[in-house]
Assembly symmetry: C2
């Protein structure tokens, strides 16, 4: 899905909600326990209940890899199901990053074999680890800029090169020069809105994928105030806040209510800013 299509989708659905399918076998509602593939069945029910609302889905690879071959089957099946329900943007949250020839294999794995629209990428190995994910029309490399976890402080906020610029700002500056706003996004954590504002200064026109709303503590309105651009410019992820919004037979209805609530908060802000 290219940038123009993504922006149109956001305007049409009046939100930029990304539902994070960080599905844990142990947390799948008991309601699905007797299914032959509980993770897949739960994912499909979540997608069925939210695909008219959400703009994007994000699959966290760790949760599938922890189940081995079965998990990889669930991953492929879930992606196929999301595609079958129509117009949404699909992100593999994989945080890959390796030397050029290996990065090309990862791009093949995610873009061609799994068929997702976007892959998250770790930037530590530099340009040749990121470039194989860029320059593919309708495909997106989502580079880690600044993250929302405690450990973000260990490296990302170090000043570099004897100046005032911090590592995450250098990463965003560099990565922005490797690709364009048509093929590069940034992961920007949402636990502190002022950091999001600094990242927005570093990359005024790029789309940001914002995790950390909900379970990780980011406040949705503050994120919108700090990160919105004239095009929207954000995909805001909620995983546990939607997947585990309710229990047992209420799990799926509660997930839909949680998604609708986020949609409404976003729609209000999009109208307030004249974006829709």
């Amino acid at each position: 899905m290219n940038r123009a299509e993504l922006i149109a989708l956001i305007k049409r659905k009046r939100n930029m909600l990304c539902v994070g399918l960080d599905t844990e076998l142990e947390l799948v509602p008991s309601y699905f326990a007797n299914e032959s593939h509980p993770v897949r069945a739960f994912n499909e029910a979540i997608v069925e209940a939210t695909h008219d609302i959400a703009v994007a889905y994000k699959l966290n690879l760790a949760f599938y890899e922890a189940l081995g071959v079965d998990g990889w089957c669930d991953l492929e099946a879930t992606i196929a199901y999301i595609r079958s329900r129509g117009n949404t943007f699909i992100i593999a949250d994989a945080k890959r990053g390796d030397i050029g020839n290996t990065a090309r294999k990862y791009a093949e794995a995610f873009y061609d074999k799994l068929g997702v629209d976007a892959v998250t990428i770790a930037p530590y190995m530099g340009r040749d680890s990121v470039e194989p994910f860029l320059g593919r029309p309708g495909k997106w490399g989502v580079v880690l800029g600044v993250t929302s976890n405690d450990g973000a402080r260990d490296l990302q906020f170090l000043t570099v090169d004897g100046g005032e610029q911090r590592l995450f700002e250098r990463v965003m500056e560099k990565a922005a020069s490797w690709g364009s706003v048509e093929d590069t996004m940034f992961v920007v954590g949402a636990t502190r809105a002022e950091v999001l504002a600094q990242a927005r200064t570093a990359a005024p026109h790029h789309f940001f994928l914002v995790p950390g709303v909900g379970a990780q503590g980011g406040d949705l309105k503050a994120v919108l105030d700090a990160g919105l651009t004239a095009d929207g410019g954000l995909l805001i992820n909620s995983s546990r806040g939607i997947l585990y919004a309710g229990k047992d037979a209420d799990a799926i209805p509660a997930a839909r209510r949680a998604a609708l609530h986020m949609r409404d908060v976003m729609a209000l802000k999009l109208r307030e800013r004249g974006i829709i």
Copy 2:
């Protein structure tokens, strides 16, 4: 495999060769083309021909993920085969790194589900992204220190905090404090021996996993001179230099010859340094 066992294995086998199974379906010798699982069959033949020599095997996840579910099956089967042949150290070259709860899932995927001894980890997200891989007896987190690709220059060599210390040195200093020499290794690229020597200064007692010997241009003797410790302290990887040492029916004999050659160079240096 714990540190004492790894050191004993290196001394017994008189080398620290790690054979990199970056197996590409398109490059598997035609000899294996009619097998139902060519990658797996080729891997098994390589392992059969080298397991009495090599200390370790490293599986590059990208090459398996590019084949989807089939690739993940090949990965599991190859690991099971390596285990069945006895005493070697198995590394998943996965370069994972994510927030704590996700990193725990990755540790589960690699240590428990795949059953490898070690996983390579990208450090950009900091402490909570690395710690779930540490503190498990006999298991190892292998943190990216300094890599051998061109892009390494983009970030890893930036000075940080207004001082002289470079990012890769800060990464190694920090990560060394999160774990111990019993559960933490570093990836240290081998294209320039003086960089390896600087990394050795930053972490005098940790094991280093050294890729980049062979196809990536590192010179084996220079690597040994710059990186060896009294315990050995190195795992030196060769992937393409062994996998694709010969063609067609000579592929497997040539792989063994290439491994033996590297073993002999290493054994000589280990004796010269009084390690064996």
